[in-house]
């Protein structure tokens, strides 16, 4: 019962945290601007400060919140649906495959034909990966299988991304491998928000619809079926929702790992281990986590363009190892 009463409080707290970090993300940039000047900028829309706020920092904060939310949410759904604690878009190679799709769209000139080619190609890459993963590990809950499938997919997608960039005539292409592997929100514009946010919203809604089915699935697929859950519909929602959401996000930010792993695991004990409750909490928590990581990037090394994936991996990789050890201890 305590978890029931705590749950609205938890959601409110996470929402407040995300909102505060959103404001902090607007206030903290690569150059320091007095917050009072920033507030004054609302009235003087011609000033440099107003321009920085509206065109440079706002898109960054919006993308940080949206992408963090979809990564946290898809992590929670994939863990529930595959009934595997290590499922996460980054580890499963879904983000890396979306990056590959985005790179192909940019360097094959498709984005010059239509801007939406970028998220659509990333979506296609993500869809291929998430379908493959689901086929490979769908039937077994074996942790080893999912890790190996993820390793194989990530390195294949990474190698093909590298190949596509090496084949491109653009002089900057070869240097971009870092961005697509580690992700960054630096100097994204409202154009990118317009490209990514619709996909994130549609994917997010589809993923949120799986909540009730995930509750039933926690008791096993047979019980779920006997409770009247349509597992095929759930599969479509989880797979396509992840592809659309993570595809749209990765198209503008590159592959950002570990958000979908850390956030659901941290929040699961707080929501009383109910998958349906974990979903909104993970979305809010993911938004807060990525906004915080993006602030760290700008505060620690403002002029070095530190990649966002470096920060999430520094936190996420030790967590991942700890999780592996504790899982092995539990199953032994």
């Amino acid at each position: 019962m305590t978890a029931d009463r705590r749950y609205p409080l938890l959601l409110a707290g996470l929402g407040l945290l995300a909102a505060l970090l959103f404001l902090a993300s607007l206030g903290i940039g690569q150059v320091w601007i007095d917050p009072l000047t920033l507030v004054a900028a609302f009235n003087d829309t011609d000033s440099a400060e107003a321009l920085i706020l509206a065109e440079i920092r706002l898109p960054r904060a919006l993308l940080g919140a949206g992408i963090g939310a979809i990564l946290g949410l898809s992590g929670a759904v994939l863990q529930g649906f595959l009934r595997n604690p290590l499922a996460e878009p980054g580890l499963l190679g879904i983000s890396a495959s979306a990056s590959l799709g985005a790179v192909i769209a940019i360097y094959a000139g498709l984005t010059a034909l239509h801007p939406y080619a970028l998220p659509l190609c990333a979506l296609a890459g993500a869809l291929v990966a998430v379908t493959l993963v689901q086929m490979l590990v769908g039937r077994s809950g074996d942790i080893l299988v999912i890790i190996l499938a993820g390793v194989a997919l990530s390195s294949l997608a990474g190698a093909l991304t590298s190949l596509a960039l090496n084949l491109s005539p653009s002089p900057f292409a070869a240097l971009e491998i870092v961005f697509w592997m580690l992700g960054s929100l630096t100097d994204r514009s409202l154009v990118h928000v317009g490209l990514a946010l619709p996909f994130i919203l549609v994917g997010g809604v589809m993923l949120a619809l799986t909540g009730r089915a995930l509750d039933a699935l926690a008791l096993g697929p047979d019980v779920a079926r006997s409770l009247g859950i349509d597992l095929d519909r759930t599969r479509v929602l989880a797979v396509v929702g992840t592809a659309i959401g993570v595809g749209g996000a990765t198209a503008v930010s590159g592959a950002i790992g570990f958000v979908g792993l850390i956030v659901p695991h941290l929040l699961r004990p707080l929501v009383g281990h109910r998958p349906s409750r974990l979903l909104p909490a993970s979305a809010l928590g993911g938004a807060a986590f990525l906004l915080a990581a993006d602030i760290v990037v700008r505060v620690v090394m403002p002029d070095r363009d530190l990649k966002l994936g470096v920060v999430t991996a520094l936190l996420g990789a030790p967590f991942f190892l700890w999780l592996l050890v504790s899982l092995r201890g539990r199953s032994a």
Binding site: I56, R57, Y107, S170, F172, L175, E176, D187, S189
Partner: protein, 304 residues
């Protein structure tokens, strides 16, 4: 028994021959006698390529890097068309049998070291960061190639042209405090400051360099936020980068840049004349000055 001893003898013999070849390869071969001009010169760096093409006698330069033949980065791609193209790989350069290899100091260290181990003479050129460096590198290339007279002629022509540019008044503004400020903004938000060739070109065109004003040395990232706040009179964008589809060049199409810097405050430059310091670099100065004086008066009246 005998058969096996013969086989092992044969093996030992073969191993000895391989060893002898390896030793021969690692021992430095005799360099051409001093004073004798090299007859087969290979260049493996875009900047040494262009200086060598300007200085070398016909037939003396046998190969330049693949970049020199690319019309989008090299001002001398037509001249490079008749030469063998190398990709800076030790094996292909060794096969060209050069008696002199010229490279940049940043050319892949592994290749340069390997060529030296193979007994080839490799001369390295520091990238030019000033007009004095251009003179020095042309002079040195002339000396190495035994073409001192040609190098001296090129330097004299360069000096005369530079002096003529310095004498002509740069638009209506004299260089110094009142000169308009120009900031360069490239792919991945890179800009340059003091101690770079870009700084020398901008100064020679009679403009102040934003990088220098911001106390930047060398080439570094300038966040878009910082560029918007610094608000230079002109932003210099590389015309080739602007149409590049890459994510790195995305920043050059950022709406904030469009909103802040109207079209007459944007200058575009042909990066080919800026990449390497050669006598051709003065083209960059001329064009920059022409572009800036075209928009100066209009912009100044509008903003001050």
């Amino acid at each position: 028994m005998r058969a096996s001893r013969q086989a092992s003898d044969a093996r030992r013999g073969a191993a000895g021959r391989v060893l002898a070849v390896l030793l021969a390869l690692t021992a430095p071969t005799v360099a051409p006698a001093a004073g004798e001009a090299p007859r087969r010169v290979v260049s493996m760096n875009l900047c040494t390529d262009q200086i060598a093409m300007l200085v070398a006698a016909p037939g003396q330069l046998v190969s330049v890097s693949h970049l020199a033949a690319r019309p989008d980065v090299s001002l001398m791609s037509a001249e490079a068309a008749g030469l063998a193209i190398n990709h800076g790989l030790a094996e292909e350069i060794f096969r060209l049998d050069p008696d002199l290899v010229v490279a940049g100091t940043y050319t892949t260290r592994a290749t340069v070291n390997l060529l030296r181990r193979l007994g080839r003479r490799v001369e390295e050129f520091r990238p030019e960061a000033s007009f004095a460096d251009i003179r020095e590198n042309v002079r040195r290339m002339g000396e190495l190639l035994g073409r001192e007279a040609e190098a001296a002629r090129l330097i004299a022509a360069f000096d005369a042209e530079a002096a003529a540019l310095a004498a002509a008044p740069p638009g209506e503004d004299a260089p110094g405090k009142g000169a308009p400020v120009l900031g360069s903004f490239g792919a991945n938000s890179y800009t340059s400051g003091a101690g770079t060739l870009e700084n020398a070109i901008v100064g020679a065109a009679g403009l102040r360099h934003l990088g220098e004003d911001l106390a930047i040395t060398g080439t570094t990232r300038l966040p878009l936020e910082a560029l918007v706040l610094a608000d230079p009179d002109y932003v210099l964008l590389w015309e080739r980068s602007r149409n590049d589809p890459s994510r790195a060049a995305d920043i050059l199409r950022h709406p904030a840049l469009d909103a802040r810097f109207s079209s007459e405050r944007r200058l575009s430059a042909d990066s080919r004349a800026w990449i390497c310091g050669t006598p051709l670099t003065l083209e960059a100065v001329k064009r920059l000055r022409a572009e800036a004086s075209g928009g100066t008066s209009r912009h100044r009246e509008a903003t001050r």
